[in-house]
């Protein structure tokens, strides 16, 4: 079942003519001519579509929170600042099929009553910005954007804004600050963007994938979308699979397939690379907790783990993780978890905005301590120190970057403490190139 990537390999799908030939912009016609904004919102609510950016908040509910005072403009902002290590799905979608996003933007803006909308694209993806701008121009030429779209009386201006290369600008309020032309510091909440967002006006910020999915929902109805998937995890999800698998890439999966299927089936990742074994998986982009092989395949209760929001987070952080933004990083037994954690910690150290003290100082501290452990200069107390620092960052910061920095470190220690201890106890072995600790009796070590 493919929704977003059905026609993505069609040559020329990035042009509006080919896109329309394959059923493109039908949702715009249907929504603008036959539906009211509230009906569109209702369909999205019925679909159970959840935010694809990481938090998994229901899109329809987010839309219904939007304040609608008289005489105040409302905005829709598409968060295309995809910078999470391991996640590259939005990039793929915008690059291959920009009109899918633009169609979703028109439909969603119509539902929210926004007459100006923005796509905030990560600064490093300059060529994607050019592709989007070209596609938007095509849409303007065909009367799908601008004044009086398709004679429905609805006006929409769509702009693309390039980010400056900061991970933090993917946080919705930092994104809005950056869009306003200021330093990308997250705002204190409340007030939430739905009340005071862009230029102090009500704003909805949604991920590329969530917005793109709305046009299919309008075409086929929310109930049809809700039938795909399991329970409260409805629809399909783009997963960026990377790491030690045979076929890395972006896959659109119906939510609800098993993790085992996803890793080993030839339809998706195609299994671990030749002659190696699965050691650990980071299931939703670098900020979610890492899980060792046996925990990612089955839950604590012994059931097979599914690719859904609920099943992946089953058992809390003790034995579970999160679906997050769908950055599925697979590691085989040649991966050193300490080194991997250092890479993540260094990233968050570099990307912390420096506004609130726990994150600013804590990320740097964790980075330095893990680096010492990796270089064979660790102390016994460092492991507990890391756990304590992570605990003191988590939940005490302005935005979720603090949590995102703390979770991978505390999870790595929770599940791979022996590996950290080995680094500290045997620095002469651990610092040798390519040396990786093998846990005796674990499924990945022989």
């Amino acid at each position: 079942m493919k929704i977003l990537t059905e026609h993505i390999e069609v040559p020329g799908i990035e042009t509006i003519d080919v896109y329309r030939k394959h059923g493109g912009y039908q949702a715009v016609e249907k929504a603008l001519k036959k539906m009211t904004p509230d009906e569109v919102t209702e369909e999205v609510k019925k679909s159970g579509l959840r935010g694809r950016g990481g938090a998994g908040f229901p899109v329809g509910m987010k839309w219904s929170f939007l304040a609608k005072p008289e005489g105040v403009p409302r905005y829709l902002v598409c968060n295309a600042d995809e910078s999470e290590p391991g996640t590259f799905k939005d990039h793929y979608l915008m690059w291959k099929s920009p009109h899918t996003l633009i169609e979703g933007m028109i439909v969603s803006s119509f539902a929210l009553g926004a007459n100006t909308s923005y796509i905030y694209v990560r600064g490093e993806l300059m060529y994607v910005i050019h592709i989007l701008e070209k596609a938007i121009q095509e849409a303007y030429d065909k009367g799908l954007l601008g004044k009086n779209i398709l004679g429905s009386g609805y006006d929409l201006d769509l702009y693309v804004q390039s980010g400056g290369g900061a991970y933090i600008c993917g946080e919705e309020t930092a994104l809005l600050e950056s869009l306003e032309g200021k330093r990308g510091n997250p705002r204190n909440k409340p007030p939430f963007p739905a009340v005071k967002g862009l230029w102090q006006c009500p704003t909805v910020v949604n991920n590329v994938e969530s917005i793109a999915a709305t046009s299919w929902i309008v075409n086929n109805g929310g109930d049809a979308y809700a039938q795909i998937g399991v329970g409260r995890s409805t629809g399909t999800k783009l997963i960026s699979a990377s790491g030690h698998i045979r076929k890395p890439g972006v896959y659109e999966i119906p939510l609800g397939i098993t993790v085992e299927d996803f890793i080993y089936s030839d339809e998706w990742c195609g299994g671990i690379r030749e002659g190696h074994k699965l050691k650990a998986v980071v299931a939703g982009g670098s900020s979610v907790p890492i899980l060792p092989a046996e925990m990612i395949l089955t839950t604590a209760t012994g059931e097979k783990r599914l690719m859904t929001y609920e099943s992946l987070s089953d058992g809390g952080f003790a034995t579970g993780t999160m679906l997050g933004s769908g950055g599925f990083i697979v590691m085989d037994e040649t991966t050193c978890i300490v080194h991997n954690t250092l890479t993540f910690a260094r990233f968050y150290h570099h990307e912390s905005c420096g506004q609130c003290s726990p994150c600013r100082e804590g990320t740097g501290w964790m980075d330095k301590v893990i680096k010492r452990i990796e270089l064979g200069q660790g102390r016994k107390e460092d492991i507990d120190l890391l756990v304590d620092v992570a605990k003191k960052i988590e939940g005490n910061t302005i935005c979720p970057l603090g949590d995102a920095a703390a979770w991978p470190v505390s999870a790595a220690i929770r599940h791979f403490r022996d590996e950290f201890e080995w680094h500290i106890e045997h620095p002469e072995l651990a610092t040798q190139p390519g040396a990786v600790y093998m846990r005796p009796g674990a499924s990945w070590s022989n």
């Binding site: 204190n188 600013r360 740097g364």
Partner: protein, 343 residues
């Protein structure tokens, strides 16, 4: 609106923040503020030193808030119950915040001009731990002169953004701001430009630490050796209400008048601050009141000391004896609290 902070209930206006309500009770209940500065709009929420636990959101919705909330920017709801000094989680988190702030802050208090009136010193004295767990090198920066009057020592900066807000709101055309990200972020002017305008000196007053110091006062004295006097003059630029800091009969420093929270309500101009350093320039009003626990009160006696106002009476009113009938006869006889005496 009714709000209960640490078992003390008081009535406040709608729109009051938890911090403001706590300050109404007294300094012992008020959470520490490193970045929040009442006279400047938009400050607060950054240092996380004032995090408190809300155990009941409001009368209507008495669920506790899941995370600790910054008291300086969270407004009070009717019937809210807040725990500050009596909550373990809050105190533990505050220990962590002190540790984080001191991670890259040099412990050069003996040579720092701010020592004695430094908010970070007070904060770490009240809430920190005496030992350190870090062995890492600190991030260091070179001290910079921001024009003839102000010295920037970025090593000491805790990135509270107060000076940025002060420059935004008091002066026209702010020329300094925060550059870079994370723990390598720094306060800087555009290509080391001098800060030059009539109210720039106020960024020294708002700085909670010794990152921005007065170059005309640098290394002249320790604050507790000098004697503050309230004074005013007829100034065409500002209110002219200042505090003069005397060593002997010499004015060694002029600052704005700070209230008990270390906040300047009436900002002064650079002429008053840096150039009027003779007693003859001023009309003396009398000695400044100093909180007794402040180190500035050292060697000063008399009526200008403010005694601690710990609301022991209020606390006693809320005091409930523990209801159990264990034998306490072995305990020495204890004076009963005022409230139980009355009853």
């Amino acid at each position: 609106m009714k709000v209960t902070i640490d078992n003390i209930t008081l009535e406040v206006e709608p729109g009051t923040t938890i911090m403001q309500a706590a300050r109404m009770i007294g300094p012992e209940i008020a959470p520490p503020a490193m970045c929040y500065y009442e006279p400047l709009k938009g400050t607060g929420g950054k240092c996380r030193g004032c995090l408190v636990k809300v155990t009941a959101g409001s009368e209507k919705d008495p669920r506790p808030m899941p995370k600790l909330v910054p008291s300086c920017i969270t407004t009070v709801q009717d019937g809210m119950i807040v725990e500050n000094t009596i909550n373990e989680q809050v105190l533990e988190t505050r220990k962590g915040i002190v540790e984080f702030l001191l991670l890259n802050h040099p412990l050069d208090c003996p040579v720092c001009d701010q020592a004695g009136e430094c908010h970070l010193q007070d904060f770490s004295f009240e809430h920190g731990v005496s030992s350190t767990r870090t062995v890492e090198d600190r991030n260091t920066f070179e001290p910079v002169d921001l024009g003839p009057y102000i010295k920037l020592n970025m090593n000491r900066c805790i990135l509270c953004y107060r000076c940025v807000y002060a420059a935004d709101q008091l002066t026209e055309g702010r020329v300094h701001g925060v550059m870079h990200r994370g723990d390598h972020a720094e306060i800087s002017t555009y290509i080391e430009k001098a800060i030059d305008n009539d109210f720039s000196g106020n960024i020294i007053d708002v700085c909670p630490v010794g990152a921005l110091t007065d170059r005309t006062y640098r290394f002249k004295s320790r604050v507790w050796f000098s004697k503050p006097e309230e004074a005013h003059c007829d100034c065409d630029k500002c209110s002219g209400k200042v505090t003069l800091w005397y060593r002997g009969d010499e004015v060694i420093r002029v600052t704005g008048r700070k209230n008990e929270w270390g906040e300047v309500k009436e900002f002064i101009c650079n002429t008053c601050r840096f150039e009027r350093k003779k007693t003859s320039d001023w009309v003396i009003e009398g000695p400044t009141k100093i909180a007794r626990h402040s180190v500035i009160s050292a060697n000063k006696y008399g009526a200008n000391l403010i005694n601690p106002s710990f609301p022991i009476k209020q606390a006693a009113l809320a005091y409930k004896p523990i209801d159990d009938d264990r034998d306490r006869s072995f305990l020495p006889a204890r004076k009963s609290l005022p409230s139980s005496e009355k009853k």
